[in-house]
Amino acid sequence: MKILAPINSISDVEPVIKAGATELFCGIIPKTWNDKYGSTVSPNRREWASANITAYEQLNDIVELAHKLNGQIFLTLNALYVDEQKDLLDDIIKNAVKCKVDAFIVADIGLIYKLKSMNLKQEIHISTGGTTFNSHTAKFYENLDIQRITFPRHVQPEQMKAIVSETKNIKYEVFILNSGCKNVDGYCTFLHGMKEQKNGYIWKFLKKANFDRLVLRILHSLPQDISNKINFSCSGVDSPCLMKYDFNILPKNNTIKTDILSKNLKSFFSLMSGVDPCGACRIKEFNDIGIHSLKIVGRNYSKNKKVKDVLFIGDIIKKLGDNLNDDDFKRYIKKQYKYYYGLNCQKLCYYPYEN
C-alpha cells in the first residue's frame, strides 16, 4: 500500500517523500481565480489560502522536485463548477498539464466528461465528493475509464470489500488520518472559510501559525469527557458542523426522556467530533481488501505534523510484513501513536468497530 500525503508548498515535498509518501496531493487558487471569486468559492474543497498554493510556477517546481524524488503529484480540482468559471478552470487544467501533474482529483461530473474528452496523459481520480457508496457507482465510474476512486469517509471496510471485488480496473484509496467530516463531503453544502474571507490577513496568519493545531493539541491532551463538551462559538470557527447550538428536542411522545440525546447531540457538534480521527487499526483489513493508497489529509497542517503522520502510517505498513496477530498489531499501532504524538490513542476512530 502507498501513502498519499498532503502538501501546500515546495518545502513539504522532500521531507514528506523522504518520510515514506510516494504520492502527494495539493490544491491551487490562482490569483486570477481569487480576484474574481475569493477563496470561499475555491476551485478545490479547501477554502483556506493556507491550504493552497497560489501560482503555477510553484506547482511546476513542486512537480519537478517530486518527480526527481520518484514521487507523484495529484492536483485537487474537486469543487463543482458553473459555466461562468469555464475559462478560469480551463486555465488551471492547461497549466497543470503543462506542469505535468500526474492526476486530477475530481468530483464534478461535467469536469469528468471534459477531462475524458481531452484524452490527457493525466489520470482521473474520483474524490470523496464522487460519493461512491455502492458497487453500481464504482461501475458507473469504471465505464467512464476512471483510474482511481477515493472512498467516502462513511464507507466501512466491510462495505469497501464488496465494491473493490466487483471492479477490475479501478484502484481505491481510503482516508486514514485527519479531518473527519461528520457529514458526507459530496452531499454537504455548508460553507467553510467565511472567516478568512471576512477577516483576511488575521485569519490567514492564525492558520499559517498553526493556531488550529495548537488548539487541537490542547484538546487532545484533555480527558475526553471534558474535550467532548468544548465548542467554539465566539472564536474563529465558522464551520457549521463545529458550532455550538442550542438544541430544542421535541419528542413525539411526552414520556420519552431526552437527556442522553441532548448530551450526545452537543458532543456531535463539539470541536472533537470532526477533527483528526485515525484509521490505523484497520490497515491490515485495507491491505487484505486490496486498497491501493492510504490518504492522509490536512494540506494546511505544519510540515512537522505532515512528516509525523507519514512516518506513523509508514511504520504500520512496514509492520504488516511481520504477520502479527490482531492484538499484537493493534498494540504496536498504539505504541507508535504514543511515540509520534506523545499521547495515548485517543479512540477517535475513522472506522470504529461495531460494539
Partner: protein
C-alpha cells in the same frame, strides 16, 4: 405556464393528503433504512393507480446493503409503468442512475434529485457582504446545469432537475425543466446518523449504530445566531426553512412546486 403543485410524502399514512395535489412524490432521499417494504410499495402504487395520480418515486443515496431492495422496488414500479400516470423516478446516486438506466423503463422520466443537483444551500450565503458579484452568481447556480454537464445529462436521459428553494435565489444555465422544493431546504446529510441510538446510550458519532427509526420519535431544532435561521435536524439530515418563493419561476424554468412540509413531520 401552469405551475404544477406536488406534495412530497414519506409515510404511507399520508397518502390521502396527496389527493389535494397535482402529483405525489413518495420516497426518501437521505436514508436507505427508510425505504418501504415491497408490500408497502405495492400498496402505494395501487393507490396512485386507482386515483390516476401522477407519481414520482424518490430514491435515496444507497449502499450495497440496501440496493437489492431498491432494485426490487424499481422492478415493481417498472411492471406497472404502463398504467402509472406520468411516472417519474428521482435519482440521488450515480449507482442508482446506472441501475435504473439499465432497466430502460418505458414512459418514465428520470429526474436528478437534490443530492445530484448540488446547489449550495448554506443559509448564510444570502447575508455574506464580502462576496463578489461572481461569487454571488456562483452560489445561485449549480454545476449539473452547466454546459459541461450536458453530455452526461443526454447520456442518461435526465429530463428534470429537483431544486431547493434556496434563500439566495436561483440562476439557471440550461433550460431543463425543474421542480422547486419548499419550504424545507436540505443543507447537509450524513451516513453517521445523529439520532441512531443516541437516545439510548452515550455514543461516539463515528460509531456505526443500528437504526431503530429514532428519527420518527423526535423533532430537533438547532439554533445558533450565526446561521441566521433555525436549523432542523431530522435523523441524519439538517434542513432550514424558506417559505418565500422566487418571483421569477418561469425565467428559471421551474414548472413545479413540491411541498416538503410533510417529510419533516
Amino acid at each position: 405556464m401552469k405551475i404544477e403543485k406536488a406534495v412530497f410524502i414519506n409515510k404511507i399514512d399520508d397518502l390521502p393528503i396527496s389527493l389535494a395535489y397535482d402529483r405525489v412524490y413518495y420516497g426518501h432521499e437521505f436514508c436507505e433504512y427508510l425505504l418501504p417494504s415491497e408490500n408497502e410499495f405495492k400498496h402505494i402504487l395501487d393507490f396512485v393507480i386507482a386515483n390516476n395520480l401522477p407519481f414520482t418515486f424518490v430514491t435515496p443515496t444507497i449502499s450495497n446493503d440496501k440496493i437489492n431492495l431498491l432494485d426490487k422496488l424499481t422492478d415493481t414500479a417498472a411492471e406497472k409503468a404502463a398504467v402509472l400516470n406520468k411516472f417519474e423516478i428521482v435519482v440521488n446516486d450515480f449507482g442508482v442512475l446506472r441501475l435504473i438506466s439499465q432497466k430502460n423503463i418505458q414512459s418514465t422520466v428520470i429526474a436528478a434529485g437534490r443530492l445530484m443537483t448540488k446547489q449550495k444551500r448554506d443559509p448564510r450565503i444570502k447575508y455574506i457582504s464580502a462576496l463578489s458579484e461572481s461569487a454571488k452568481n456562483y452560489y445561485m447556480s449549480f454545476s449539473l446545469d452547466s454546459e459541461a454537464s450536458s453530455d452526461f445529462i443526454k447520456d442518461f436521459n435526465i429530463q428534470r432537475f429537483e431544486l431547493d428553494n434556496v434563500a439566495q435565489g436561483i440562476i439557471r444555465q440550461s433550460k431543463t425543466p425543474a421542480s422547486l422544493y419548499t419550504p424545507f431546504c436540505y443543507i447537509s446529510t450524513t451516513k453517521l446518523c445523529y439520532l441512531a441510538q443516541a437516545d439510548k446510550k452515550e455514543r461516539y458519532l463515528r460509531q456505526k449504530c443500528g437504526c431503530f427509526m429514532e428519527c420518527q420519535n423526535y423533532d430537533v431544532y438547532m439554533k445558533n445566531d450565526k446561521m441566521k435561521t433555525d436549523l432542523y435536524l431530522k435523523g441524519n439530515t439538517i434542513f432550514y426553512r424558506n417559505d418565500v418563493l422566487p418571483q421569477n419561476l418561469q425565467n428559471t424554468y421551474i414548472d413545479r412546486i413540491v411541498i416538503t412540509e410533510n417529510i419533516l413531520k
